[in-house]
């Protein structure tokens, strides 16, 4: 690894062409900052994306970049990581790219635990094709392709990730820069498939989709920042907390009914059992706050390392190591 210290300018490239006010701008800033703080040399990073507004992102990062095809970024990134495990790979998709056309690659990449930073920019809409519902749009959502509302239920990215045995899941809001940088750094430091759901606004086709948490004030009421080992408190004065009730969670107010901070759940992102983590990830308003931060972070062997390790093991065991030696492992006869 190079000793050189890189500044944020070293990671910037080109002039983004997203709509003014698009959540992608804010996310890109956070990514540049996270990359700078992580300090990996730009030439050892690859940003690999699919198709869609957010998938334009590689052009704006001064690393190696590959803007691939719709839905396949996770598969392309898997091949690149197996080919060169030393690369740091950021894989960028939107909700349509990652969960509709790319759904199969998404779940299998998560299942294999390929060491990728998998960013899912979720604005619950198809922007580049000008406003159709996506697999994360709520039931009844009216769009150009569903003028009378959708008649299907959406995916929750966290649920899909956990269902695919995901070991890392975090969530941030594009406009919430400081928290996003921390989440991105945690994802990069996690060895394995780290899924980050970035809640992001589409000003043109789905404005206000994450309105309840779009402002700092809104987040203080409607979001909870989870930190491993810390009690699950939220609210303007941290006056609310989460407790377990039966098979579920409940929101409580400190001081009411004799509840004190010690009654509040402590976040355990490292817990192998994902039951509570899933409950946290699925919380939504108005009854519950939206969970932000690293929700699940559990160690597991990575696919790319396992591939490399197996090759080393077999190399040590087998007696043939080049083509000529391979030939001689066959039954042969000699014509003299």
């Amino acid at each position: 690894m190079s000793e050189k210290v890189y500044t944020i300018q070293d990671y910037k490239s080109g002039q983004p062409r997203w709509c003014p006010g698009c959540g992608d701008h804010a996310f890109l800033n956070s990514l540049h900052k996270a990359m700078t703080e992580l300090g990996v040399a730009p030439h050892n990073i690859a940003v690999i994306s699919g198709i869609g507004c957010s998938s334009r992102l590689p052009y704006y990062v001064n690393t190696y970049g590959f803007h691939t095809i719709h839905g396949r970024a996770t598969a392309v990134a898997t091949g690149a990581k197996v080919a060169n495990p030393d690369l740091t790979i950021w894989q960028i998709s939107g909700d349509g790219d990652g969960l509709a056309i790319g759904g199969n690659h998404f779940i299998h990449t998560v299942r294999r635990n390929v060491n990728l930073n998998m960013i899912l920019l979720n604005n619950r809409i198809y922007g580049l094709t000008k406003g159709q519902y996506s697999p994360t749009s709520e039931r009844g959502f009216v769009s150009k392709s569903t003028p009378y509302g959708t008649v299907e239920d959406p995916f929750h990215p966290a649920e899909l990730t956990f269902g695919a045995r995901g070991r890392f899941f975090a969530r941030c809001i594009a406009v919430d820069g400081a928290a996003s940088v921390e989440v991105l750094k945690a994802a990069a430091n996690y060895k394995g498939a780290s899924v980050v759901e970035v809640l992001q606004n589409c000003v043109i086709f789905n404005d206000g989709t994450h309105a309840s948490v779009a402002t700092k004030e809104g987040r203080s009421k409607n979001a909870i920042y989870l930190e491993h080992g810390k009690p699950m408190l939220f609210g303007e004065q941290k006056e609310f907390g989460l407790m377990q009730e039966g098979f579920g969670l409940k929101v409580v107010k400190l001081g009411e009914n004799g509840i004190t901070e010690k009654d509040i759940l402590i976040h355990d992102a490292h817990c192998q059992d994902n039951t509570l983590q899933l409950k946290l990830a699925l919380m939504e308003g108005p009854d519950f706050p939206i969970a932000l931060g690293v929700i699940r972070d559990v160690e597991a062997p990575t696919y790319d390392e396992a591939v490399t390790e197996q090759i080393e093991e077999v190399k040590a065991k087998k007696k043939y190591h080049n083509f000529q030696e391979l030939l001689m492992t066959n039954d042969t006869w000699e014509v003299k």
């Binding site: 190079s2 490239s13 040399a41 730009p42 030439h43 050892n44 990073i45 690859a46 690999i48 198709i51 590689p58 052009y59 001064n62 690393t63 190696y64 970049g65 590959f66 803007h67 691939t68 095809i69 396949r72 598969a75 392309v76 990134a77 898997t78 091949g79 690149a80 990581k81 197996v82 080919a83 060169n84 030393d86 690369l87 199969n104 690659h105 299998h108 591939v307 197996q310 090759i311 093991e313 077999v314 190399k315 065991k317 087998k318 007696k319 043939y320 190591h321 080049n322 083509f323 000529q324 391979l326 030939l327 001689m328 066959n330 039954d331 042969t332 006869w333 000699e334 014509v335 003299k336």
Partner: protein, 616 residues
Amino acid sequence: MTDEMMVKELEEVVVRFSGDSGDGMQLAGNIFSNVSATVGNDICTFPDYPADIRAPQGSLTGVSGFQIHVGAGQVYTPGDRCHVLVAMNPAALKTQIKHCKPQGLVITDSDSFEAKDLEKANFSTNNPFEELGIKQDILEVPISSMCKESLKDSGLDNKSILRCKNMFALGLVCWLFNRNLSAAEKMLREKFAKKPEVAEANIKVLNDGFNYGANTHASVSTYKIESKEPKAKGFYTDINGNKATAYGLIAAAEKANMELYLGSYPITPATDILHELSKHKSLGVKTVQCEDEIAGCASAVGASFAGDLAVTTTSGPGICLKSEAMNLAVIAELPLVVINVQRGGPSTGLPTKSEQTDLLQALYGRNGESPMPVIAATSPTNCFDSAYMAAKIALEHMTPVVLLTDAFVANGSAAWKLPDLQDYPAINPPFVTPEMAGTWTPYQRNEQTGVRYWAVPGTEGFTHRIGGLEKSNETGVISTEPENHDKMVHLRQEKVEKIADYIPELEVLGDQDADLLIVGWGGTYGHLRLAMDFMREKGKKVALAHFQFINPLPKNTAEVLKKYKKVIVAEQNLGQFAGYLRMKVPGINIYQFNQVKGQPFVTRELIDAFTKLLEE
């Protein structure tokens, strides 16, 4: 008695083992082929197995066959029809008898011809031979019961004992052709190295089969095949096309000093390449069995982007799914080897059978102007050279390359002289050099080849972005400018056309002043060659031009095709190559011979068709 045995000296012989798909016919056939190869005969094999893994026992759909052509001289095909047919049950007899020569010999396991067995094979009488009108000699042998008797003290259970009956049949066939059993015994001991008791049981039954033939059937003519002309000196092995393909890729990676990556998804008849490459981790081969065909190709594109020799393997239906990612490699200009082991189509079609129906798909089956080099392997052993060349062209010309093989060459095998990598051309991908840093842009091209330079992630000073959107020539910046797009379409096309400077010219075999030029491509080489040889022996003036390189075509293609008065293109489709040639060489007049049966050509039918055309 045996001393007076008549030994017929045959130039060549074709044997077909057939039985239930669980009867071990492929193993018996493989061993016989290897045993024959070790005594210096030339061999060519053709496994003909059903798509079902285990169809109902004894049923007509569950018959598995393995045909071996053994010759004293050069053997080009697995043979049209067999001299000896082994039929382990009535279903095998019923479905396979058509592959047996009228003067051939049929060997059956008489224990498997009980009423219930006949019923499963839909016989309506208790005499299947009469019912089928079989004229061939029949040798009815109680194989199952003798196998049981032979192994009654072995300690093996009944099921395991009956699994050895294929070795009884093999022993009998080895006796028929005076094959020494020691090589077969060695192979069995290696195959069952972890189960010595099974190895010994198989060997015992093998010998019993051999002795049964020697003791009781001396009246049957036996054959001996001796090598007529010694082959080139060196070490040989028996290799099938899929294995040779895998070896060609390994060889190319080593020659290019690169790591080999395979992204694949199981599909008949291509899966054995995945199996073979997966074995060779000690050579650093990375194989990823992906979630689908799409990911197989997309991950290979990713591996290529990251600097590996990247390959994806499949059959026709898989190409449908891969074409999107293949196209990404076209516009990004990244090396990629795409292997299509063709099978019968359309759709799921005939998964285990062989056709040449994916040619136009390989050439044109993608959106946009999407030029892609296409190479077709001509025989099992040529799969090695073709895979090597596909990798060399992909790496040196920064382009995806399609290698077409087919089920026939993929599963068929032949004797292969072990190659020396030193005899193969160097592979030099156009990697960026440190002095290019600062001035290099992603789509700068080598003037002579039209090829861009390759900067692999991890290389300092060359960070860049590429993708599936049209880009400015030189810089690679996204561009929708009309003139630029037109230019890029031409540049990509010209880059592929220039590959003609780096492939061999088309060779014309046979009579240079022929009255008829036979034209073929890919896996039909053996049959067309045999047809030509036969016709020339009969005094006809015939030549063969067989294409391995299809896009671009060899530079002398037009010259060759225009030189002959009569040209016939023979292929296993409705005329895809013929149509392609008419487009590429305007004004030529060509005849067609087309057969799409999922089966290899029958040489006799080729000869008849060609002779008829000559006489018109």
